[in-house]
């Protein structure tokens, strides 16, 4: 039987562990530069080496994101990306791939506007496995129950500022995996320091058995490899988003093959992780 939701994420990490590998989680904004191109990119990510796919849901005011993902969100909104269209993309992806976990990542307002319960139900029915909602800390609980009831994962973030006494409060209701933000800052800016990551991951691991993915600031195969020593998975986002923007002219017109360009980088980073 084919698993879904939290189960599908769990199986993914079990398989990675068995193979003694660190997973690669790829983040790309849905609809950047167009829905058609990003649908294409998503369909090729698993084969290129992505173990888990994170689909960015664009928001007009992405407060935790750096310039690369800000620009990407604006391009996606300009191309007409909506929550419903993103769910349709996932539905299409699931026609060809029932193994790779799909996580939606974004900000709360578009989901709140769609209707939390309806969104979770619709997402579950098309094959979404979990959510990372950047501006929904564990204190704001309104998505937790619907997500749990649907058998999906609400993935919480930890950060270098998440002090020891707070870690249990953050991980208590987490499922799927923990997303550790490796740097103080927004996405895609500074590179993380390995020493701090090791220290942070150790203190988080003392409170949870969930796998830990590390993200923010990882751009190259070398960095991915260094961090794979400590992490169960690494998240790469801005680097792919930059690849997409390099394929566009100043007016946002596509002048180069975004799909190949992103897929090549996924392969490179995967190589780095496997070395």
């Amino acid at each position: 039987m084919i698993s879904k939701g939290t189960e599908r994420i769990r199986n993914c990490f079990i398989n990675l562990k068995r193979a003694e590998k660190t997973g690669l989680i790829t983040f790309i904004t849905a609809g950047d530069p167009t829905l058609e191109i990003s649908t294409n990119i998503f369909s090729q990510l698993p084969q290129a080496g992505a173990d888990i796919i994170e689909i960015g849901m664009p928001f007009s005011d992405p407060m935790a994101d750096g310039p690369a993902i800000q620009a990407s969100s604006l391009r996606a909104l300009k191309s007409g990306t909506t929550c419903s269209k993103i769910l349709k993309m996932v539905e299409k992806f699931r026609e060809q791939d029932e193994i790779t976990p799909v996580i939606l990542m974004g900000y709360f307002n578009p989901i709140y506007t769609y209707g939390v319960e309806k969104f979770v139900a619709d997402a579950s029915s098309v094959g979404v496995d979990g959510f990372i909602i950047v501006d929904l800390p564990p204190e704001e609980t309104e998505m937790r129950i619907p997500v749990e009831d649907a058998g999906l994962s609400l993935i919480y973030l930890t950060s270098p500022t998440t002090y020891n006494k707070r870690v249990p409060d953050v991980v208590r209701n987490a499922s799927g995996f923990i997303y550790h933000v490796s740097v103080l800052g927004i996405t895609g800016t500074t590179a993380p320091s390995n020493k701090n990551i090791e220290k942070d991951l150790n203190r988080i691991r003392s409170h949870t058995d969930l796998p830990i993915a590390v993200g923010f600031g990882i751009k190259t195969p070398e960095q991915a490899r260094e961090i794979s020593v400590y992490a169960d998975a690494v998240v790469v986002g801005s680097a792919f988003v930059n690849k997409i923007s390099e394929c566009l002219d100043i007016d946002g017109k596509v002048i180069d093959d975004c799909v190949i360009s992103v897929v090549d980088l996924v392969k490179d980073i995967k190589c780095g992780l496997n070395n």
Binding site: A64, Y114, L157, S159, T161, L184
Partner: protein, 404 residues
């Protein structure tokens, strides 16, 4: 609507006013926000903190600000007896400094050496730069590129005071975008930095903390009107962007039999889509750390606001206002650019007070309603800032009209 026993209890411990408010921020910021909450909860009850704040408010800000009977405006409108609470006479020229003084003392208690802030019209930026100069703290102000252009006098003042101004070009380059970038800065520099939010918005505890620091306006007003007239006013009027001057005036009166009206900016008209009337024409959503009424499309994407007044040009409103609207305690109305500019001139010519374009919206509202009220109706308007900063905007507006 069920009448509540008190409208002053909010927020609850998790920072909610009904369904509004809360703490919708990234995990990186949660610990510092909890730290600010804890520090503020202690400071509020700390006698020394309050004595120090009072001292600075009196001798540096120049409080209490006068409650002034606007006799010529009253005569001209031929109805309600109109008073102005003169927050425009504070040091730095607006009510913003009340909050900055409170928060800067808190930041010092917390040991933070670097202050960041967002600003729209520049009045909060000037007030922040002022208190940073006073206490020798590093000051970085995020300001939309559009606002830098239309409020150049305030940009100069901030620079004179030693602040670094960072122009924000994302979005429409106005207050909302400045707040995004200030939050991004805070995430990256959270260890040494205090974010001095200028209005009753943002994540808990900011909405209630800023309200408390601004409530001095309403407390003084209550005392002054009792001295002058021997009774409470019949109505209060204040303009509203994020809503800090309004909350400051209203809060001490929430449980009194006083009609309260807040005036939003309807820009070029609510029907044109170019406005800043979050309650009149918006819907609940989550932005900048709290749930509140927002200007947004059907997909939950935020729509850019428009107002001739940079200080009201924000697509949201403080969460406590959303709640006061929901429970029906405060009336929210809207006034457009044209009406505000007209009121700006009326106020200048009749009272010799050039109001900022923000309170000019409140003046425009009383021009509409005061004439229909009886002569024993006592009405208090919060004159929350002076108009020196708006000379260029108003002269551009007049030039455009003459060209049309």
């Amino acid at each position: 609507m069920n009448k509540l026993n008190t409208y002053k209890e909010g927020p609850n411990e998790s920072g909610h006013f009904g369904i509004f408010g809360g703490r919708y921020v990234a995990e990186t910021l949660m610990p510092i926000i909890l730290e600010v909450d804890k520090a503020y909860t202690q400071a509020k009850l700390d006698e020394e903190f309050n004595i120090e704040l009072e001292k600075y408010l009196k001798h540096y800000v120049g409080r209490p600000s006068p409650l002034y009977f606007a006799e010529r405006l009253t005569k001209k409108l031929g109805g309600a007896k109109i008073y102005f609470k003169r927050e425009d006479l504070n040091h730095t020229g607006a009510h913003k400094v009340n909050n900055c003084m409170g928060q800067i003392l808190l930041a010092r208690h917390m040991g933070k050496k670097r202050i960041i802030a967002e600003t729209g019209a520049g009045m909060h930026g000037v007030a922040t730069a002022t208190v940073c100069a006073l206490f020798d703290l590093s000051c970085t102000i995020y300001m939309g590129a559009t606002d830098i252009k239309r409020q150049s006098a305030n940009v100069m003042r901030m620079r004179m005071l030693g602040a670094e101004i960072i122009p924000v070009t994302s979005g429409t380059g106005t207050l909302k975008d400045a707040m995004n970038d200030a939050l991004r800065d805070w995430v990256a520099n959270v260890q040494n930095t205090y974010y001095l939010i200028g209005t009753v918005a943002g994540p808990h505890p900011y909405p209630s903390m800023v309200r408390d620091f601004q409530a001095i306006i309403g407390k003084e007003t209550k005392r002054q009107i009792l001295e002058l007239e021997g009774r409470l006013p019949d109505s209060l009027v204040a303009c509203i962007g994020g809503g800090s001057n309004a909350m400051g005036l209203f809060y001490p009166f929430l449980d009194d039999p006083v009609k309260i009206t807040a005036v939003e900016a309807s820009g070029k008209g609510v029907g044109t889509g170019k406005h800043a009337a979050s309650i009149t024409a918006g819907s609940p959503g989550v932005l900048h750390g709290n749930r509140t009424f927002l200007l947004q499309d059907d997909e939950g994407q935020i729509i850019d606001a428009h107002s001739i007044s940079a200080g009201l040009d924000y697509p949201g409103i403080g969460p406590e206002h959303s709640w006061l609207h929901d429970v029906g305690r405060v009336e929210y109305v809207a006034v457009n650019d044209d009406e505000a500019v007209n009121a700006f001139h009326v106020c200048a010519r009749l009272e010799g007070i050039i109001p900022a374009l923000e309170p000019a919206h409140a003046v425009a509202h009383i021009i509409k309603v005061a004439g229909n009220l009886s002569e024993d109706h006592l009405m208090i308007l919060n004159m929350c800032g002076r108009g020196d900063k708006d000379m260029d905007t108003v002269s551009d507006y007049l030039a455009n009209i003459n060209n049309d």
